[in-house]
Symmetry: C2
Subunit: 144 residues, 2 copies
DNA sequence: GTATGTGCAAATCATTTGCATTCTC
DNA sequence: GAGAATGCAAATGATTTGCACATAC
């Protein structure tokens, strides 16, 4: 399996854009963990490693990462998006507690079938989906 | 079936809050159409009808409307949330074109079953879900 | 060499907050 | 009458943009 950087290089070349060390640094940092990330947190991670990457560079890169299929928006919380990397990992859905914000990831294989159905019905080229289920977790349920 | 205002009055009373003409005006305007809405657009609709409602009043009301189950976040687009009313209407899912932004609504009954399954597995009190499927619409597909 | 990418500082835009006033209960 | 809600103006915070400089192709 190709690694993320190679996927990105290919994508960039196909679009006639340019690759830079900054972009590769950002991508490596994103894929250095298996966690979700958001722009600010990623920026701080890079800063801690003494990498001189500006926030605008991250913001400018994100749309390309989305378009290339390396990452996906996971959910919007605390006023900003959280992303997950989907290349090389299975995409997952999120179960969120409305009170404490706790998030549990789960899989739902049946959605693949649904995507196929929608693709046929509406003649779309489906690229993915985002499912968020919300409610109250065991701890918070009693205190609603 | 009780109307939205009554649901809201009951909710407000239970929480020990106060109802106001401003709040009722906003709620009536939200439910005056069957469409989605966002805060800014709602504010302008009210303004056009010569209602003197400030944006902060809308922003301060939204969390209560969410909590009372009258509305739900539908999707985040153009830098802000779009809401849908769910009381008295079936909740629906969204199919979005990544290129032109076109949005198609569809139903997916199987998600009810999934909610039940999750409720059992994680001991959550499930209140709802949000599903967004994305891809390219028939018109945009050829131009990716 | 040219056009793209970068970092910085400033601008934007949705949302939130402080506060004096008004209103609901 | 006390505590909430409102409107206004100002603050906040994520994201975007203008611009001069650097650099990939």
């Amino acid at each position: 399996m190709k690694d993320e950087i190679e996927i990105f290089r290919e994508f960039i070349r196909k679009k006639g854009l340019r690759n830079t060390p900054e972009r590769e640094t950002i991508i490596k940092e994103i894929f250095a963990t298996h966690d979700h990330f958001d722009v600010d947190e990623l920026y701080l991670r890079l800063k801690n490693k003494k990498k001189k990457i500006s926030k605008p560079s991250i913001y400018r890169l994100v749309p390309y990462l989305l378009e290339s299929g390396l990452i996906q928006e996971a959910y919007f919380e605390d006023g900003h998006f959280h992303y997950e990397h989907i290349y090389g990992h299975e995409h997952h859905c999120h179960l969120r507690c409305l009170k404490c914000g706790k998030i549990i990831e789960f899989e739902e294989k049946s959605l693949k079938k649904m995507e196929k159905k929608l693709a046929g019905k509406y003649d779309f080229a489906i690229k993915g989906h985002k499912l968020e289920v919300f409610g109250y977790c065991p701890k918070c349920k009693p205190h609603i």
